[in-house]
């Protein structure tokens, strides 16, 4: 597994925009002085007339995106997740969400894997913030293949979409001919009978590795990739709970309000089973290399494995 190809989903975002830009003339890209980091710089080079740098003013950028969408363009407003969902929250809610304008928000540098920049830039709350806005689709792709597919799906989707991307290069796991991306449809990556691991974003890879470790102990885990936090694939979540009797969610996000909460909301009402939410435990992050932080905050495969082993203890 060590020689697996790695690419950051923010790179995928930039690459997908260039491809789509050739195909769709009404696609425009906005940035707030971070085109180099959000990887939209490639789009800027290719289509300088359709790239709009708003300067360091994310609230205004969201409003400009709304105005562009109201006049028939499909804007991708790009910045760090912290500023897209945090600073500009109310602009996203009132200027984009409420009028249901066709704006796509490309939020890069999400989660703790931002690394060295530390807590001010590690947004572990964006899924929660975006998920509560009515009518907005929230996507959190796991790898390069999925991220590129998500960008095109977002373009084709009529209405606001929040896309979450990471800074860290992550393994490509969906490189197979049968791969198909559909907003709102989760993907079963591994079948299992003892427990279901529902993961999103870079935690999908870590969860697959954890499932391999569990297999050695005789715990057969089903692994589900939920790339769409909203609308959540409730059917798959319920089916998984009924099939395996236990559900563990894994996300690079606070355990409050994100995937874990979304799954718990569904299961508590429709198919209650024992649950464990793995994620950031209601704390701020800190500076450090991404891989070390992922380990320290319990999102690496070994940590996931131990927690699930504990959950399943005594039953085998």
């Amino acid at each position: 597994m060590s020689d697996v190809k790695k690419i950051a989903t923010r790179e995928s975002y930039g690459n997908a925009l260039v491809k789509l830009g050739k195909k769709y003339k009404n696609l425009v890209v906005l940035d707030a002085d971070l085109a180099g980091a959000t990887k939209t710089g490639t789009f800027l080079k290719e289509f300088p007339d359709r790239h709009i740098d708003c300067g360091i003013a994310e609230c205004n950028m969201m409003g400009i995106a709304a105005g562009l969408a109201a006049t028939g363009k499909v804007p991708f407003a790009s910045t760090f997740a912290m500023f897209a969902s945090g600073r500009a929250y109310e602009q996203v809610r009132n200027s984009i969400g409420y009028p249901h304008l066709n704006v796509k928000i490309g939020a890069t540098h999400a989660g703790i894997s931002v690394g060295e920049d530390g807590a001010t830039h590690q947004c572990n709350e964006d899924l929660a913030l975006m998920r509560v806005i009515p009518g907005i689709a929230v996507l959190n792709p796991a790898d390069d293949i999925e991220a590129q597919a998500a960008v095109e799906a977002a373009y084709l989707h009529d209405g606001p979409v929040y896309l979450r991307f990471g800074r860290l290069a992550v393994p490509v796991i969906n490189d197979n001919p049968g791969y198909k991306f559909e907003i709102g449809k989760g993907i079963v990556l591994k079948e299992g009978t003892d427990v279901t691991i529902i993961a999103t974003g870079l935690c999908v890879w870590e969860s697959l590795k954890a499932a391999e470790l569990l297999e050695r102990d005789g715990v057969c885990a089903r692994v589900v990739n939920i790339h769409t936090i909203k609308p959540l694939d409730e059917e798959l979540v319920i089916e998984s709970a009924r099939k395996t009797g236990k559900v563990v969610t894994v996300e690079e996000h606070s355990v409050l309000g994100g995937l874990g909460s979304a799954v718990a909301e569904v299961l508590s009402e429709k198919a209650p089973v024992p649950m464990l939410r793995i994620g950031i435990q209601d704390v701020f992050g800190e500076s450090g290399p991404a891989a070390e932080l992922i380990k320290k905050y319990g999102l690496d495969s070994d940590s996931i494995y131990s927690k699930i082993k504990n959950l399943c203890k005594g039953e085998k």
């Binding site: 425009v28 007339d49 359709r50 709009i52 708003c54 300067g55 003013a57 609230c59 205004n60 969201m62 409003g63 400009i64 995106a65 709304a66 105005g67 562009l68 969408a69 109201a70 006049t71 028939g72 363009k73 109310e90 602009q91 009132n94 200027s95 409420y98 009028p99 249901h100």
Partner: protein, 279 residues
């Protein structure tokens, strides 16, 4: 439309504002009345629009950034033929399409949902930018309150509009001098407003009486001739204009007239209408 007709229309629009806010038992008459001449001038004189085809792609756009003065916009749109005038009585009623603040999804003629102050101007800038990118000739207008410009986002938008030389954009500031808590210069003074917009690379047009159609006409002519930079029209107005007891009274920023106050207001507007008819 000649000036007398515009004055008569403004008087009708004022009646609609009072009726709507009275029926709603809530709403913002003060800033609706201060901007009534502006609304009238926009929709009956200045803008290239078609009430039969409210979504016409090449229409001029108007964004009410000071969205709380929706009664003024709604009464204007109704009198212009976008929807029935009698519907104004459903303002803010449960189930009505006439929401407390402009809602582009459900109200014919509303170009942008607004109401959270400071946000409308950014959307207007986006529309003006879009027209420039496409080589379209439509113009974009946005009305801001003088209290609203305390919001930082206004200046983010202004900086961008000036930088991009959006000469198809006209920002209008309704300088009635009052906000909810009192006089704007007592709360957190935005003065000098004109010098601020000039510093953000706008062509600034000061209007000493924004309730005067001649002055508005001259200002918008000047804005149209301005090339290479956006225009800002800073117009002095009277809050609550046209209703004696509401004029220059911050208390009428957000307050509905009771039945007796309503009767007085309507009587004043009837009289004003009669006077205009004798001219």
């Amino acid at each position: 439309m000649d000036e007398l007709k515009l004055k008569k229309m403004a008087n009708e629009i004022r009646k609609g504002i009072i009726e709507a806010v009275h029926s709603a038992k809530a709403g913002h008459p003060g800033g609706s009345l201060s901007a009534t001449e502006l609304f009238t001038y926009m929709y009956f004189e200045e803008m290239d629009i078609d009430p039969e085809n409210p979504k016409k792609a090449d229409r001029d756009r108007f964004v009410l950034s000071k969205g709380h003065t929706a009664p003024g916009l709604y009464s204007t749109l109704a009198n212009r033929g976008y929807f029935p005038v009698k519907d104004l009585l459903s303002l803010r009623h449960t189930g009505s399409y006439l929401q407390g603040h402009p809602d582009m999804k459900h109200i014919p003629g509303v170009d942008m949902s607004s109401g959270s102050l400071g946000q409308g101007i950014s959307a207007a800038v986006g529309m003006a930018l879009s027209a420039k990118m496409d080589g379209e000739g439509y113009r974009v207008y946005t009305l801001l309150g003088d209290g609203e410009i305390q919001e930082g986002q206004v200046w983010e938008a202004a900086m961008f509009a000036g930088h991009r030389k959006l000469d198809n954009l006209v920002v209008i500031v309704d300088n009635n001098g009052l906000q909810i808590d009192g006089k704007i210069e007592d709360i957190c003074s935005p003065y000098p407003i004109d010098a601020k917009f000039a510093a953000f690379n706008f062509h600034v047009i000061n209007v000493s009486d924004g309730n005067d159609f001649k002055q508005l006409a001259a200002a918008f002519e000047e804005a149209k001739k301005t090339k290479g930079q956006p225009s800002a029209i800073i117009m002095k107005t009277v809050k609550g204009k046209g209703i004696s007891y509401m004029e220059n009274n911050a208390g009428w920023h957000e307050k509905a007239p009771n039945d007796m106050e309503y009767a007085i207001a309507m009587e004043e507007l009837e009289k004003a209408g009669e006077t205009l008819c004798q001219m």
